[in-house]
Amino acid sequence: MPFAHTVDRCTYRFADLKVLLAKASPLRSGDAMAGLAAQTEQERVAARMALAAVPLRHFLSEAVIPYEQDEVTRLIVDTHDLAAFAPVQHLTVGGFREWLLAYAQDAESLRSIAPGITPEMAAAVCKLMRNQDLVLVAQKCSVVTQYRNTLGLPGRMATRLQPNHPTDDLRGIFASVLDGLMYGSGDAVIGINPAGDNVPGTVRLLHALDEFRERHDIPVQTCVLTHVTNTIEAMRQGAPVDLVFQSIAGTEKANRSFGVDLALLAQAQAEALALARAPLRGQSGCDHVMYFETGQGSALSADAHQGVDQQTCEARAYAVARRFQPLLVNTVVGFIGPEYLFDGKQILRAGLEDHFCGKLLGLPMGCDVCYTNHAEADQDDMDTLLTMLAVAGVNFVMGVPGADDVMLNYQSTSFHDALYVREVLHRRRAPEFEQWLQRMGITDSTGRLVPGSRSGLWSRLGSELPHLSRPRGLA
């Protein structure tokens, strides 16, 4: 359906909902490269004005990618919950923004409408919001998940310990694990991005992580972030899989370029649930065994965006995620590069948008606050995004030694960065992990680090490292 808006006798026309959403999106290089961005600043605001007047109900009758062509669209339409939608079904997109910001809305009311909100509705209202709106509404949302600890509780922020090594050397990996634990990092997950992408390597790393966690009775989950098909094969070989990882996107075509579809993800989830490894359950009453990563621009980079702007594509990826009750969803915001998010300003905006949309749709959102060396961004930009996300109540961020991932060659947040958030915003770790750190003498009762030498842990863990060079089961 075409849309139009007139300002000073100049009428801006938008061919359909997909075009309207794209033109209303804050400027970013990916949409410009795709030829979807507004041509002028005035056109962009005119698109927002037109979008503000669109009834939310309209989103139930016009799909941005046809139902017949895309299984993500079918998932969105077929699982839409009309009863949950009822409290907001009379609103326009502009009115929805005000409804979300109203004092009356709290964690409970926002949770109850989530199944009635489609990704496109979330993306649309997001485009009308300023950064502070994205923070304020996300901060009201609460999404709690559990595995060996409890993530997403109010006033808490967890970290994924990311101990990557250029050659997957076990001593190198565990040197970083030890460093992270001594800095109080790792409650979201200890998760390795493997340098090599194969089943034997995955199985080796899974065993090493699990044995380490068991030996020290650490209330965290572990993960090797390899392709879902590798993880399925690893499970069949009896490897200890806590979480199934997969990168996902917001169109069927983009997911196929990742080598996945909904059926494959469902199969992986079913096999992981059958392992029954999770000791705890979240507020939804189901086991959370999935870990997804997303990021704006992934559909475009696979030439699979189908004319949809990158922020709307990203929100659609969250429809895929919520189908599988994940423990963690991580938007890897600045990894993709400056042709999609050019500078610190665009990365900041995208990080806040993704967190907001994910939370609104009911997901346990974390964010890899990050940038590459060819983007116009630096540590100061990351400080800003990290601080705003922490205020917004982000469930978790990354913990990378010194913020420098020496395998993936990009900069993320460091162990120190999380400590900064704990100092200035008093965000605490997951309660079970907090208690473990105190028991081990790593932190004091306020959550602050005690000098490393006072904990015997580092020397105990350090003494294990030289023996890790030849892993179990490999001659």
Binding site: I173, D179, T372, H374, M407, Y410, G452, S463
Partner: protein, 312 residues
């Protein structure tokens, strides 16, 4: 408050040579806690060091950095900034093509220069699609001369700035020399064509160049997306029977050519192997596997050797 020097030295279980370099400074070998540090002004440090500094021998990751309160020590903040500055300069400083062309000619290579459609560095970074296409004015430069050798066996080599001018400036010439020596030594049936120097270029531009040169195979050498610890990493992408419109799946990649990565001779060996394998298969890309690694774990385990960079 001074916190260092007041704690009990703890035993370290690891052994062996512990001296590693980080940021140009030797990391102290740790068997005991470091003594209280003095600043240049002679003041006692409030940095809380990490007693597991010894573990740095196992990883290039920035571990055991110590802290001031919850935050990084000043030296680590600045060390990081210098590494980032090196990577940024590698992206943004222009490659001195004239100097590179002079050095190549001195080494006995013929050269020719071309440009992509990306007019500026900023456009290059924002618009990968423009960096993949040859500027139309350059097509005439590339037409093979009359009476030029037959296109069979012609190996066209393209040197481009890519995302690290420093990588191309440092590694292109020695790598090309190593390749030439290897091809001569093995009496390889490959004839090295004029070296094409391409500015603001991405990988796919080489396919258009190779097609215009009527090359049997084309290889582009270009700077990879720089990391903090690898600002000068060179990548090689090979296409057999190059033509516009091919995808990443049609190319073979050799990554991480740099001082701390893959050496010139090793890279030349791999490339020679891939060229012959592609000729035998009649095609390059995912169906052609690099088997030079099978007896050398150290090579196969290098980052990027099996998964090349995405910034093509």
């Amino acid at each position: 408050m001074v916190t260092t020097g007041q704690r009990t030295p703890a035993p370290v279980a690891t052994s062996g040579p512990g001296l590693m370099m980080r940021g140009g400074l030797p990391v102290p070998r740790v068997g005991k806690l470091p003594a209280p540090k003095l600043s240049p002004a002679g003041e006692l440090s409030t940095v809380e060091p990490d007693p597991w500094e010894d573990l740095r021998r196992y990883t290039p990751a920035r571990i055991a950095l110590g802290r001031a309160g919850a935050s990084l020590p000043t030296a680590e903040v600045l060390d990081f900034q210098m590494a980032h500055a090196q990577a940024r300069d590698a992206v943004h400083l222009a490659l001195d093509f004239a100097a590179l062309a002079g050095a190549l000619r001195q080494a006995g290579f013929a050269t020719a220069a071309v440009e992509s459609l990306a007019a500026t560095r900023q456009e290059y970074v924002r618009r990968p699609d423009l960096g993949r296409r040859l500027h139309p004015d350059c097509r005439a430069t590339l037409a093979p001369a009359l009476g030029d050798a037959t296109s069979a066996q012609r190996l066209t080599l393209v040197v481009a700035d890519g995302l690290s001018s420093r990588a191309a400036a440092t590694h292109a010439l020695p790598l090309l020399c190593a390749l030439r020596s290897r091809l001569i030594a093995h009496a390889a049936r490959w004839s090295i064509d004029t070296i094409i120097l391409a500015s603001q270029a991405r990988v796919a531009l080489a396919d258009e160049v190779g097609a215009l040169r009527k090359a049997e195979a084309v290889v582009i050498l270009l700077g990879e997306r720089p990391g903090l610890s690898s600002p000068d990493s060179l990548g090689l992408y090979m296409t057999y029977r190059p033509r516009p419109g091919l995808t990443d799946a049609d190319r073979n990649c050799i990554s991480n050519v740099r001082a701390a990565g893959l050496g010139y001779a090793e890279a030349a060996l791999k490339l020679h192997f891939l060229l012959d394998a592609a000729r035998a298969a009649g095609v390059s890309g995912t169906s052609v596997k690099d088997h030079t690694d099978q007896s050398a774990d150290s090579l196969s385990a290098l980052p990027g050797s099996d998964a090349c960079d995405a910034d093509r």
